[in-house]
């Protein structure tokens, strides 16, 4: 038996039930990725005798005597395959986790086959890009611009990771071999609410290859929260590493480490558990009623506000006086809106590997959005000094908020400490659905009052958010949902009441849009209703009421605030969308009287920084060879911050971006960064880089001025040298002279997330709706964003495209569904569909021309917020087309057809 992979012959034999995907990886071909392990995502695509297959479905033994090609075997003698080059030129990826499979599929297509990409690429999912850049790559359209000194800001520069991504050599968390590594698997509760009375683990321990079994007896007796925030106190301490209560179907109750995943799985099946089944509650309104089952019978010190009523947090706040506002109103509208539980579906699942070096330090390689918070939490849980823990990421395959959570690192560390061996735990896709986190389902009751001329007099919202079995992010998302969703309107009276409520469903977490998406859906839908009632066009109603430059940022809170509009591009964004929708561009409505047509849009204003603590620290130095070395703790997971940071520094130092080496997301190699979430990549992390680079530039110029005895005003930095009058001093020479203690060529700056500027997004759709089947077709999609200075147009467009695609999926069909016992019925990509190529129309994208007063080089956030107005824009278009207001997401045909049939 022998196997040929990428032209090399291997004598190793696969295990009988092994699939080709893991077999190829065992032989070192890490370019073969896992997104689902079930044939749905295509990340594992390889060629078998030249034909593309999903290697996770191919029994490895069948590859015997056949030719296997992985992404690593595509380039020929060091020359990239034309498809790899095309993906590079179009930068047809963000996190890059799908790229290997996407390229292997695309490279197999004939010119004829490329004409039907929706069909040909339906077996390749990408959660990041929204597929536009991929389509461009296949059409041979490039976006990358050359790296030229003096032009860094505003150029579409390539990601420094691009080459490694298209060649399959980028190392994601699992792409590493470690001597003696053990594998961890967990046993999960089949009950939504149960007390564990006893657990028998003897049989499990007896499975050959098993090293240890852990239960709630073996874990630190310290409650914590898996949410990652600088200030952990904003989330409740309601979680144990392993608990003796199960509060949702799928909660882990025991863990096994073994030589192989197979042995660990078998041992998990052999653990016997006696459960006392407790009554469960799934509806958050019911959970607050007297007599409802109580999920967390915990002390006040856990920071649960009202444990007996299952309320983690209640918020009540009023600005102005809504009662009076409504009494002044000529017209009011009211509505109840609800949003779905949505999975992040980052293609790389959660994964961590813990190991220990000879000096006793703990090393955690992980896929996290906030390595410094993971370090802090591990140090707390295991009562070890911070310096003894090292947490780092290499490549991260997407996050979207799902990795602003510590979900696997702690068990790996526990098992590693007990066994003395490196321990790896990689979530399956099913685990990602049932025990990862997801978007908070929220119901919003809203009432809006206005004068006959459209002037708003009062807005009142009541939000009930299902935080699930644990409180992680429940409070902060609730606060955001009550405030960020309202602040675009200049309304004198606003009031919000909100409840973050425990129920026996899997915990919710941070999700792109962080609570705002859900309430903005309600607010903008209500504005659509108000406009209809007043006989006004929605744009007109909004223009009358939106904040204008110079306004304070306010919503429901009284008291001081550090939110400020550092720039204002809402007016431009609204104009862009209005003009585009009126242009007649896009597709025409399909023939037939059964097709209805409608237009709609929605607006949003977002804080670029969360109200919680947020800081970042950049170090930059000039090196002897005249290059720069930059470090920052930010995480790169497709958000592009690594590229923007180099551009910011290059721009200030007037150099090529390539002259700057950058190291990120490593608690040993970089200084503290709170974490990469909540839109802060640009507004805080890049800001620290700009402050550091400015300081380094000033120092260099000062040294050059002394060295040449020319006034500093006559000195200017250029690529690789300093120009002082007519003298050109190479940076290498300058470095050599700057030995004096007064000279500093290595600087550090911190940026702090205050004041917090705001960005704006407007989305518009023209759609067709089939009044019989309920099918929705998007005829035109338009997005306008005010992201301040556009540091990298290609990248900013990519962020908008990806966010819009995620928005379209979660508005039209994505939905986690649970049965009557709290068990998720669709925990896989087969049955929880995310947007595929065929689902996503091309979006016209516009950027406002603004310069932010606080952001680095005038830039502000671009990546998180474009998702937010998508759902209400669709809702408004749907209402325009059908005359019916749909108030419950998603708008899948089977959920809307009944109301259409009744419609006039």
């Amino acid at each position: 038996m022998s196997f040929t992979i990428n032209g090399k012959t291997f004598e190793e034999k696969p295990r009988p039930g092994q699939c080709l995907r893991t077999f190829a990886r065992d032989l070192g071909w890490f370019g073969v990725k896992k997104g689902c392990d079930a044939g749905d995502c295509g990340a594992c695509t390889v060629w078998l005798d030249g034909k593309p297959v999903h290697s996770c479905l191919v029994p490895a033994f069948r590859a015997e005597g056949r030719e296997v090609t992985t992404i690593e075997g595509l380039a020929c003698n060091g020359t990239l395959h034309p498809m790899q080059q095309a993906f590079l030129d179009a930068q047809a990826f963000q996190c890059g986790f799908c790229a290997a499979g996407m390229i292997m599929t695309s490279a197999s297509l004939s010119e004829e086959e490329k004409k039907d990409l929706p069909f040909r690429l339906k077996g390749n999912l990408c959660r990041c890009t929204g597929y536009h850049a991929i389509e461009d790559a296949l059409a041979g359209v490039g976006h990358v611009e050359p790296d030229r000194a003096g032009h860094a800001c505003g150029s579409s520069l390539q990601s420094p990771l691009a080459h490694s991504i298209v060649t399959g050599t980028a190392r994601y968390t699992s792409d590493i071999k470690m001597e003696g590594m053990l594998h961890l698997k967990v046993l999960r509760s089949p009950h939504a609410h149960a007390k564990i009375l006893a657990m028998r683990t003897e049989k499990a321990r007896a499975v050959p290859g098993v090293h240890a079994v852990f239960t709630s007896e073996d874990v630190p007796k310290r409650p914590f929260t898996s949410a990652l925030h600088d200030d952990y106190r904003v989330d409740p301490d309601d979680t144990y590493v392993l608990d003796n209560f199960a509060r949702y179907v799928g909660q882990r109750v025991a863990a096994v480490v073994a030589e192989s995943e197979g042995a660990a799985e078998e041992a998990c099946r052999l653990i016997e558990v006696d459960y006392e089944i407790l009554p469960a509650v799934f509806d958050p309104e019911e959970a607050m009623l007297p007599g409802a089952p109580v999920l967390h019978n915990k002390e006040f010190s856990s920071r649960i506000q009202n444990a007996k009523k299952n309320i983690f947090l209640q918020i009540d706040s009023e600005y102005g006086n809504v009662a009076q506002g409504f009494s002044e109103a000529d017209v009011t509208v009211e509505g109840n809106y609800s949003s779905n539980k949505v999975s992040h579906a980052h293609l790389e699942t959660h994964i961590a590997i813990a190991s220990q070096s000879e000096d006793g330090r703990i090393h955690v390689r992980t896929s996290s959005q906030a390595p410094f918070q993971v370090r802090a939490k591990l140090a707390y849980l295991f009562a070890i000094p911070l310096e003894r823990v090292h947490v780092y990421t290499e490549r991260v395959g997407g996050g979207f908020g799902g990795k602003q959570e510590m979900l696997c690192e702690e068990l790996c560390v526990l098992a590693m400490l007990k066994t003395g061996r490196p321990v790896k735990w990689e979530f399956t896709r099913e685990e990602e659905f049932i025990a990862g986190v997801s978007r908070h389902p929220m119901t919003t009751r809203i009432k809006v009052g206005a004068k006959n001329d459209g002037t708003l007099t009062a807005i009142q919202v009541r939000v009930v958010s299902a935080t699930g079995a644990y409180g992680n992010h429940g409070g902060e998302t609730l606060a955001a949902s009550l405030s960020q969703s309202l602040q675009v309107y200049r309304c004198p009276n606003m009031q919000g009441t909100g409840y973050a409520v425990y129920t026996n469903i899997p915990p919710s977490g941070a999700f792109r849009g962080y609570g705002s998406s859900q309430t903005v859906f309600a607010v903008e839908s209500a504005m659509g209703e108000l406009a209809r009632k007043l006989g006004l066009d929605l744009m007109t109603l909004q223009r009358k009421n939106v904040v204008i430059p110079g306004d304070a940022v306010h919503s429901i809170w009284e008291g001081p605030s550090d939110a400020e509009m550092g720039s204002y591009g809402l007016d431009q964004c609204m104009d862009f969308v209005e003009t585009a929708l009126a242009s007649g561009r896009g597709e025409t409505k399909p023939e037939g009287e059964e097709w209805l047509e409608g237009k709609g849009h929605a607006i949003h204003m977002h804080d670029c920084i969360p109200p919680t603590e947020q800081r970042s620290e950049a170090h930059i130095k000039l090196r002897a060879d005249g290059t720069y070395y930059l470090t920052n703790g930010v995480t790169e997971m497709g958000n592009g911050t690594i590229t923007s940071m180099r551009q910011v520094a290059a721009s200030i130092l007037n150099s090529m971006a390539d002259r700057i080496e950058i190291v990120i997301a490593d608690t040993d190699k970089t200084a503290y960064d709170t974490g990469t979430f909540s839109s802060v990549g640009t507004s805080v992390s890049c800001k620290s880089v700009s402050l550091a680079a400015e300081n380094l530039r000033d120092n260099i110029l000062k040294i050059a001025s002394e060295y040449t005895s020319r006034p500093v005003e006559e000195c200017a930095l250029a690529d690789g040298n300093v120009q002082c009058g007519d003298r050109t001093i190479p940076l290498t020479e300058l470095f050599a002279t700057a030995r004096d203690a007064r000279h500093r060529l290595e600087v550090m700056r911190k940026a702090y997330g205050s004041p917090r500027t705001t960005c704006f997004n407007v989305h518009g759709f023209r759609i067709a709706v089939h009044r019989v089947t309920g099918e929705i077709r998007i005829l035109q999609s338009v997005h306008a964003a005010d992201a301040g200075t556009i540091l990298n147009p290609m990248q900013c467009r990519g962020q908008v495209e990806g966010a819009v695609a995620q928005g379209i999926g979660s508005s039209l069909f994505e939905r986690m569904v649970f049965d009557g016992n709290g068990k998720m019925v669709n925990p896989n990509f087969r049955n929880y569909r995310i947007s595929a190529f065929a689902d996503i129309p091309r979006t016209e994208i516009f950027f406002a021309d603004t310069y932010d007063a606080y952001g680095p080089l005038g830039a502000k956030s671009a990546g998180e917020t474009p998702i937010i107005p998508v759902a209400p824009a669709l809702g408004n278009a749907l209402a325009d087309a059908t005359g019916v207001r749909f108030a419950s997401l998603p708008f899948s045909a089977d959920r809307i057809f009944e109301q259409l049939a009744d419609a006039p």
């Binding site: 009988p16 029994p59 069948r62 390749n124 045909a893």
Partner: protein
């Protein structure tokens, strides 16, 4: 995914080589479903590839499709010109949620044996009046129409160890005119409903086959093209609990679409 409970692969060149059938045995065809979920009750896979059954045999009597015929082979099949219904082969291949890469591996038999409502090979072969040849362990081969083979969602008449050998599509069915309707909640997604009507050009017999909507395929025969009321009344005869409820469509919507598309098919074939 890795099937970690599998300890043995058998690769017989003849079926007789498979000795005593045991619990924990499973036939391996394309493996595209088997390897897409953990199979914790299975320890041995019996590979059908090594049996080397000829995939497609076309004769004047009809088309014999080996259970092990890959979906891609069916898609590429060049049919005689008088098989008016032959384009259905491709239409049904395109009705998988699975990508064309999976067609390179998945088999026609494997799809029918899965007996999922959205099984497009079930839609195809039941609409074209296919008959399956089953090889029971130790007994004589038996023949079962596809329509009777599938008894419910993920349920069929196959006995433990019984092998599906082939599916035969009779020439008279392949020579029929047909009309095809399908609906999916996401673009190119999983079938929420897939309805096929056929019309015999000679005898005017009209056959309506409803799949994907319902838990198992439902077929209605009329001597000639029925009236709208007749079509409506057969659909009305299907109780709501015979419609599938899952994330690819609600029973109510599936029923609604079944009415709508059945009538469209009737109209198309009466033209």
């Amino acid at each position: 995914m890795d099937l970690n409970t599998i300890t043995e692969i058998q690769r017989p060149s003849r079926v007789e080589d498979v000795k005593e059938w045991q619990n924990g045995y499973a036939y391996l065809a394309g493996g595209t479903w088997l390897f897409s979920e953990p199979q914790v009750n299975t320890h041995t896979l019996i590979d059908l590839e090594t049996l080397q059954w000829p995939s497609l045999t076309a004769t004047a009597d009809g088309l014999e499709i080996a259970a092990t015929c890959r979906v891609i082979e069916l898609e590429n099949f060049a049919a005689p010109p008088d098989w008016l219904a032959a384009p259905l082969l491709s239409e049904c291949c395109h009705s998988f949620l699975a990508s064309f890469k999976i067609w390179n591996e998945a088999t026609v038999g494997g799809n029918i044996i899965m007996s999922l409502p959205a099984g497009p090979m079930i839609s195809l072969t039941s609409a074209l009046e296919g008959v399956m040849t089953l090889w029971p362990r130790g007994g004589e081969p038996r023949q079962v129409p596809v329509l009777d083979f599938v008894t419910g969602n993920h349920q069929n008449v196959l006995q433990p160890g019984e092998l599906v050998r082939s599916i035969f599509l009779p020439a008279h069915a392949l020579k029929k005119k047909y009309a095809f309707r399908r609906f999916t909640l996401t673009h190119l997604g999983r079938s929420e409903t897939l309805i096929i009507g056929t019309l015999c050009p000679e005898h005017r017999e009209f056959v309506l086959t409803i799949t994907a909507s319902t838990l198992r395929p439902m077929q209605y025969r009329f001597d000639s093209v029925p009236s709208a009321a007749e079509v409506r009344s057969v659909v009305e005869g299907i109780p709501l609990d015979h419609y599938l409820s899952d994330t690819h469509g609600s029973p109510e919507h599936r029923q609604h679409l079944t009415y709508y598309f059945s009538e469209q098919i009737r109209q198309e074939l009466s033209a």
